[in-house]
Subunit: 396 residues, 2 copies
């Protein structure tokens, strides 16, 4: 593995480390894909679609850095790191179907480009292919560590789907009466388990760290993971596209529950809260779609000389279309999203989230201090430590 310069505190160095891991892991995924592919099938080409897009490869990097900072070997940890990337991308593909997202990493989502059936199956295929490399670990790592890795992955997938279910249930019930703790617990299950806790655990298991120390490192990872997600919520509102890499304000348009928005909802007056909940329940406008009423008005204009839609007529068409199941409900308008932004501003919710992110980063730092002495000094330990600084730097 190319040894990038020490990343501590330096985002560019962190970027170089992540990139090096990304290339290693993509090569490993290519090895995992069966050589005797079914002829003419697009399945395995599509499996590489998301991993080959511009991505951080944070999970494999955390896994590799942990293993190597504990004296473990790169070759020993690579298959497990690649499996984490397979899981991550399978979750992304299914998430994109679930949210009907249009874009992912600068390109159309897989189901936009190839349809829902193929996208769901490609995600399933990535989950399916992740088992064999973990069984192959037995030959290289021995039985004990390999079984511990399998147990950790079983736990990880359970936590992820439970966290996802929590969030989907909130959306379905239109639930906004949530405390910080409800949100942070969901984030821990949905995101931290597979993005932080399990990568660090697998790296430590491969390096044959003893169980008590593995738990100490996992606790660091849990706190770092929560801090990262809250930081992400803040950047989604306040970042700039270049540094953040995603659409600014996207969470508001999607009506996503974030620590920020939940704080606003708790702080707002009953009237503000009702209005905000109404706006958040509206879908985001679809790209290039005309409202059905407008489309009808245009058609009427061109079909029936002199025909004009009265407000009552428009209303009637709207209701009829809604009843027939073809109309979408009205979408959020820019003015409505501005209303949400101003409400957030007025209640100081970004500052609240900033405080929470920094507190969790601080907790992560303390957890890391407890491990620091038995981690080898060098680029790998620096990466782990550098990620804490990274949260601090971006949140401020």
């Amino acid at each position: 593995m190319p040894d990038p310069a020490t990343p501590a505190g330096d985002p560019a160095a962190i970027g170089r480390y992540l990139n090096a891991c990304r290339e290693l892991v993509i090569a490993e995924i290519r090895r995992i894909i069966p050589a005797d592919r079914p002829r003419r099938s697009t399945l395995y080409d599509l499996m590489l679609g998301y991993p080959l897009r511009e991505a951080k490869a944070l999970r494999p990097a955390l896994c590799i850095a942990t293993c190597r900072a504990l004296g473990g070997e790169l070759g020993a940890v690579l298959p497990s790191a690649a499996v984490l990337e397979l899981y991550h991308n399978a979750f992304l593909i299914h998430d994109d179907v679930e949210d009907d997202s249009l874009m992912r990493r600068g390109h159309p989502t897989l189901h936009q480009a190839h349809g829902v059936p193929i996208a769901v199956n490609v995600g399933d295929a990535m989950l399916a292919l992740s088992l064999q490399p973990l069984l192959d670990n037995i030959a290289t790592l021995g039985l004990g560590p390999s079984l511990r890795i399998l147990e950790a992955v079983a736990r990880m997938t359970r936590e992820s789907v439970e966290g996802q279910a929590l969030e989907l249930d909130w959306i379905r019930r239109g639930e906004w009466g949530l405390e910080d703790d409800d949100y942070l617990k969901m984030v821990e299950q949905k995101t931290a388990w597979y993005s932080f806790i399990t990568p660090v655990r697998l790296g430590a298991i491969v390096a044959r760290l003893d169980p008590a120390r593995i738990e100490a490192l996992a606790e660091f990872a849990r706190r770092l993971g929560v801090a990262f997600q809250v930081q992400d919520d803040i950047l989604n509102l306040r970042g700039d596209v270049g540094a953040y890499g995603k659409e600014i304000g996207g969470d508001l348009w999607e009506g996503k529950r974030t620590l920020i928005l939940l704080h606003t909802m708790r702080s707002a007056s009953p009237e503000e809260r009702a209005e905000a909940a109404r706006i958040l329940a509206l879908p985001r406008p679809s790209a290039g779609a005309e409202a059905p009423e407008d489309m009808l008005a245009h058609l009427l204009d061109s079909l029936v000389e002199g025909a004009e839609l009265t407000p009552a007529g428009r209303d009637r068409i709207g209701r009829a279309l809604a009843g027939a199941g073809t109309a979408r409900p009205a979408a959020k308008t820019p003015a409505e999203v501005r209303f949400l932004e101003q409400l957030i501003e007025r209640h100081g919710s970004v500052e609240h989230a900033r405080g929470v992110a920094l507190a969790w980063a601080g907790e992560a730092e303390r957890a890391f201090e407890a491990c620091r002495a038995w981690l080898l000094p060098g680029v790998h330990r620096d990466l782990l430590e550098g990620l804490i600084d990274y949260v601090h730097a971006r949140v401020r």
Copy 2:
């Protein structure tokens, strides 16, 4: 386990055996679901949704019967049998999303009832929960058999998603120039591997059968699985709802590739083939949906006195709506589906499929004969053998 009467040749007895297995497996799935459920989450209730519907539980029954006919114990095989049922139902949920099916086993599909996001996640959760019971096998079965089961499951999931990808690629390309062998290979991967081959393999591994004999039984299962699917294709066209349990003719409405239809396409004249391909590419009519043009005509009638849609006007509206992405293309009509039925009739394609199903059932019988001597006589061996007779009886 209740010992049902010998099922050989008797569909009612086979039904009783399957039912007994179904109840055992549902109880086992309840044990697999974590006791410390997240509060207020609907995830685990929804996981039981499909398994609790009227279903055959063929896969667990095959697994249990194989194990017990080899002297293995029920308690030893139940977790693996339950995992097969979890996989099967996860595939069904994702298949229903992929095909946008309306009904499953007499009730609305999961995504119709709870939305695509929750349905995709529930399927993922069932896949996620299937790993831990296979790891827990180590404590009860010992390491060797448990690892062989994990390897068999890894192979099974790979075959299933590859088979599914083959079929999805055909649909996407509008591919109808396929030989029987192309279809049978797809069926073997998509259906026989997880519904027949792997259940029999897992049962045999639990009973500690030697590898050569496991392969002999797997070959029986492979042939039986292919025979079953071709039989299913025939019953879909020629069965009666009561015995078949699904909609008669559904495959034609869905434009599914079957051995029957592929034979018709190969036998038809170029003109017939082109017309059939055009019809098959049309979607099936959605339940209760009015065509957009009809809806508009009704609206116009009620809005604009004396307004009437000319044929050119209807056409124009249809194109405009299609351009705006809200209209569905025209759906198959009953007359068009009758055209397909008559084409199938004229080319003797059902008889062709019947011959193939009986040939594969005969091959399965020969494969079973090679195993018969080392299977314990009794209800479990009778179930395995009875399934061959079952294909014979239903296809004739």
